[in-house]
Amino acid sequence: MIQLSFNHLIYLVEAARWTILLSVIAFVGGAIVGLPIALMRVSKSAALRGIAWGYIQLIQGTPLLIVLFLSYFGLGILGYKLDPLVAAGLSFTFYAAAFLGEIWRGCIEAVPKTQWEASDCLGLNLFQQYAYVILPQALRIAIPPTVGFMVQIVKNTSLASVIGFVELARAGQIVNNSTFEPFAIFTAVAAIYFVLCYPLSVAARTLERRAHAGRS
Amino acid sequence: MPAALEQANESVVSVKDVIKEFGPLRVLDGVGLEVERGQTVAIVGRSGSGKSTLLRCIAGLETVQGGSITVCGHPVGRPGSAARAQLRRDVGMVFQSYNLFPHLNVERNITLALTLVKKESKGEAKRRAAEVLAMVGLTDKIASYPEQLSGGQQQRVAIARSLALQPQVMLFDEVTSALDPELTAEVLGVMENLAHQGMTMISVTHEMGFARRVADVVVFMHQGKVWETGPTAEVFANPRTAEFKQFVGSEL
């Protein structure tokens, strides 16, 4: 019953490269915007804290699909050409920044208060405190949940298909339109996503366990 | 069984040649014990002597590799068996860590098994809860949650919870080990009252004062065996083995 040819599979695997590229863009963009968000969340200034909080609530309270549509059509309003890659890159950056910002805030807050006090007593200024004392420690705590979140990013890039970006999910739809074998095709697509995501999941879990073992 | 026989020296708990192993480790090595109705038995010994394991075997919490245990004439049985259901009607167990249900208040902790297991009505169960709480002197804590109580109070509620089911025999597993001296006294007081009321009790304990004052029979365990046993006064007055002598000496 399965008419899926080898060429179709090659096509899907090639499309998966775009999924990976989108994931990398989302992660890098999300990290660049997310770190300031996290720092704002723990800032002494109530205004900065409020802005970052509002941003996170806004993104985490809206479906990613709607963020994608808003970016896509928003670009048009701003007078740019409607480009799925740019729209998707922007959306995933907004999306990842909100979640990474919230994850990393927790990690920064997990660094014991005494570390702040100690570095303060040594005469370090705020920048030095973050750069040399707090962030290096927060980073170690942050790695497992950050790797775990990458799984969400990879899966969610599938939504870029909706605005016409040809990545793995869209490629699956295209193949399906010509072969009408949705069960086989989408199972194959799911399998490729699984191959991309499962190692990340396992890594996140292993890192998490190791971090716990190290602490106790 | 004729009533006359049942009264005279009826054995409530009978442990014969019990062997219990955890992997390669033999924790109980041919243990025997007879407890008669109304008796208070104190099981003493160093940690690792197998005394808590023996109690847990009697409660059916551990499966034994050899020998037999009967309670009120019924074998302890396997989990889920009819014999096990019978055992649960006959035996009450109190733990070192109280093990109250943290999400339920004191009253519900007590009525839970009454309504679920004994199928009593809510009203009956509540009446019974009030009754047993009065026995342990905690009437005013009926609506409290475990976290609001001191360790001693929690332990008294745990005793009340077991008593509510009207067991034939109560097992106490180092019930005061986690408590301060003052709180220990209030729990031991409740147990002493129970003993005087004729409850059959087996208590694994570190409290030598309690053992001397309340227990009818003392069992000294050592290396997974009953090393020395007999009426309390006799055993303490004339220790036969060097190990027990040493143990009593170190505990004083």
């Binding site: 709607i66 499962y198 | 167990m93 733990f95 093990n99 999400h103 839970l112 949650y145």
Partner: protein, 227 residues
């Protein structure tokens, strides 16, 4: 920027948005409830089940959590119908969302169930409670209370993720938006409106979870302390 925002279409089309939002609520409340049921059963299987059950539940969790919801929805809707099992878009949506919610709930509830100490089970055993009674009265409620914040977040995430079911034309909120924007060409405005509705729904769902928590966890309501 010369763009003029125009929300006039709302005057005529607002009932469509209400209908879409209502379907979103129906689909997701049902999926969250069913997913919770599935997830709790699988979590019990993972903790107390034999090796086969544990493996099965574990495999289910890994497969669902490592593949996109969009593809899961496609498999249920297009895939199953190609195999002869024709389900409506709404039923497919609920089925896919339930399977998805169930997998995440399994992991969340597993953590909760594992936090219940063995001594609690022994105490229940000694009081004569059956295994089922123990699970119902001694294990599940405190387990759920411990992980309730995560359950609530997952519920909100699922509600938001249900927008993906617009791709199999379940006429929920996002699908309504797609329809209205293709009629009116006010795309940006339409999605702004819908984003606001989703934000309101997120707040509503959080409120709902909080209220259900108050009803379920009597001790917490009285004392306000964590378990």
């Amino acid at each position: 920027m010369s763009y003029k925002f125009d929300f006039e279409f709302l005057a005529e089309r607002w009932p469509d948005f209400v209908a879409g939002a209502w379907l979103t609520i129906q689909l997701t409340v049902l999926s969250i409830a069913l997913g919770f049921l599935v997830g709790t059963l699988c979590a019990l299987a993972r903790v107390y089940g034999g090796p086969v059950l544990r493996r099965l539940a574990g495999g289910y969790v890994e497969i669902i959590r490592n593949t996109p919801l969009l593809i899961q929805i496609f498999i249920v809707y297009f895939g199953l119908s190609s195999l002869g099992l024709k389900l409506s878009a709404e039923v497919s949506a609920v089925l896919a969302l339930t399977i998805n919610m169930g997998a995440y709930t399994t992991e969340i509830m597993r953590a909760g169930i594992e936090s219940i100490q063995r001594t609690q089970l022994e105490a229940a055993d000694c009081l004569g409670l059956t295994r089922l009674q123990t699970i119902l009265h001694v294990v599940l409620l405190p387990a759920m209370e411990r992980v309730y914040p995560s359950l609530g977040s997952q519920g909100v995430l699922l509600m938001l993720a249900s927008s993906i079911t617009s791709q199999i034309s379940a006429e929920e909120l996002t699908a309504t938006a797609n329809l209205v924007q293709s009629d009116t060409y006010r795309s940006f405005e339409v999605y702004v409106i819908v984003a606001v509705v989703y934000l309101a729904l997120s707040a509503l769902y959080r409120l709902g979870f909080w209220a259900i928590g108050l009803i379920l966890f009597e001790r917490r309501r009285r004392l306000g302390t964590p378990l």
